[in-house]
Amino acid sequence: MTDWLSPEEWTAVRLSLQVALTAMSFSVVPGLLVALALARGRFWGRGLLDVLVHLPLIMPPVVTGYLLLLSFGRRGPVGAFLAEHFGLVFSFRWTGAALACAIMGFPLLVRAIRLSVEAVDRRLEEAAGTLGANPVWVFFTVTLPLILPGLVAGMVLSFAKAMGEFGATITFVSNIPGETQTLPSLIYTFTQVPGGEGGAARLTIVSILVSVVALLASEGLAARLRRRAAA
């Protein structure tokens, strides 16, 4: 495998997996909370939150990337604050790529979880309450197990989106080999130079492989969870 891919290509694949996994891991908990708030919350600004979450899905990715650059860049208000107080730098770093991917995948993650939260029979939660479970326990023993298939589906969508994210990433963190040059960025680079067709083709195959494996894994997991719930 290492011989089949050039070191440059191999680096891009590794970096893409790292970025996608990071993006997915860090969005799960916020995604779950936002999905719960949107599905069940009755608070002022709920509609606004809904729009905000879905914005990256509708806006051109370049716009999202540019907004990220403005706010999370070195001189952006959020970027400057984080760099100064936490030493956290996003611009032109792989962490920035992960941030861009997380934000682009967030609406997909939230939508999948939200649908499964809305499908939960709240009468089961009532029953758990009468059996002595406080609201936190009700969540962990009843709600969470019941939304697990949706949560897994959302995570896969978020991961897949991150593997393929291009527009926002390249706008926000550019295309720096070894740092921010993810798989799609390198494919793009290959298509811009003469003789790059071979590399582009190899990376395309890798992309397809990763997508298929992720999809099969999630389908298998979801089917097992469904069987557990229904059998």
């Binding site: 009468t130 002595g132 479970a133 406080n134 229904a230 059998a231």
Partner: protein, 372 residues
């Protein structure tokens, strides 16, 4: 145990304004749908917060809006069995049963799993998933799950309503055992007189959000004016009897009531066992003299206590048959022809085949066998 309820809460177009007190082992909340039964149960369980009122169980105040007391549902120790069972689909029957146990303090765990499983006959279901159970099995598991959370009172919200007749007949004996063997006070929501006559020690009648009557079952069920919806078909008095003998030649059983004997179709009950019988008001005729040359096997002498007009053409006559209240539904014309009036001595005539599975059920056993 005592259950004290005094509630005011909006209920559809009107208000639930229920006030009653019950000390029974099995208190039935009776009323047609929309009368406020389920709202009442949800308030006792803590699933809704009543606008105003008080709920006290066993001297423990669960709700007192005047003093800002509201115990959250998970700290109430009020077991609930819902009409739709609500078993957790992601857990096996065994883990459904043990669910409440995680949240019960160790020293409060009185109910034993083995005992509850035996009581409800669900031992063979433990490794199954709820989705594979029949409706009756689901309700039994739901009852077991509620019991194993060691509640101080058990609320059954129409547990039989969604089941067919066969499944109802399957569960009924378990509810009787629950009432007689656990010593746990039970509140049963029902709109079936047959269910209540068979199970209840006490009855609270709800109509349009108000508790219009409450008291011992035998007394309340003998007042047909409280059950206008039933019409003449189901209303009737409830009396306690004992099996006197069996007549194998004719396939009959003789029951001893206070005022005399009743001969009914053969019942598989040992001689001497106690049995509750509901005498449907429409199944009884009245005679001024002891009848002769009549096919009906059952004649109980009694004294007219009260007459009440039921509608334009019919009346309800309440008799005192040696201490048992018996209600008779007849036409106004018949009542006038017989010259019925209070204190008149009459004979109530009941056909033997008027007794069926809906009207004859085992009575309460005398002493509860302690807590499970």
């Amino acid at each position: 145990m005592t259950l004290e309820v005094d509630l005011s809460h909006p209920l559809g177009a009107f208000r639930l304004e229920a006030r009653f007190r019950s000390e029974g082992r099995l208190t039935a909340l009776f009323g047609r749908s929309g009368a406020g039964k389920t709202t009442l149960v949800r308030a006792i369980a803590g699933l809704i917060r009543p606008e105003a009122g008080r709920i006290v169980v066993h001297g423990r105040t669960l709700v007192d809006t005047a003093n800002r007391v509201f115990v959250p549902m998970h700290r109430r120790r009020v077991g609930v069995v819902f009409q739709d069972a609500r078993l957790f689909p992601h857990l096996s029957v065994r883990r459904n049963l043990l669910f409440g146990r995680w949240f019960t303090p160790r020293n409060a765990r009185a109910a034993s799993v083995g005992h509850v499983v035996d009581l409800l006959g669900i031992g063979h279901l433990l490794d199954r998933r709820p989705a594979t159970l029949s409706g009756g099995e689901r309700q039994r598991v739901a009852i077991g799950r509620a019991l194993l959370a060691d509640p101080q009172i058990l609320l059954l919200d129409e547990p039989l309503a969604s089941l067919d007749e066969a499944r109802k007949a399957e569960i009924m004996p378990y509810l009787e055992r629950l009432r007689d063997e656990t010593g746990l006070p039970i509140v049963l929501v029902s709109h079936s007189v047959a269910e209540i006559s068979r199970l209840a020690t006490d009855v609270v009648v709800l109509a349009d959000g108000r508790a219009v009557a409450s008291g011992p079952a035998t007394e309340i069920l003998g007042r047909p004016s409280l059950f206008p919806d039933l019409g003449p078909t189901e209303a009737g008095a409830l009396i306690e009897t004992r099996v006197l003998s069996h007549d194998d030649a004719y396939g009959l059983t003789v029951l001893q009531a206070k005022a005399g004997t009743l001969t009914v179709p053969r019942l598989e009950r040992p001689v001497g066992s106690a049995l509750r019988v509901r005498l449907r008001a429409r199944d009884i005729m009245l005679a001024l003299r002891a009848p002769e040359g009549l096919s009906a096997l059952n004649v109980l002498p009694g004294r007219v206590v009260a007459l009440a007009q039921a509608d334009r053409s019919s009346m309800d006559v309440t008799l005192d048959c040696a201490g048992d209240a018996v209600v008779v539904h007849l036409t106004r014309k018949s009542a006038d022809r017989l010259g019925l009036r209070p204190e008149l001595l009459v004979h109530a005539v009941i056909k033997g085949i008027a007794f069926d599975a809906d009207t004859v059920g085992p009575t309460l056993r005398n002493a509860p066998a302690g807590h499970i």
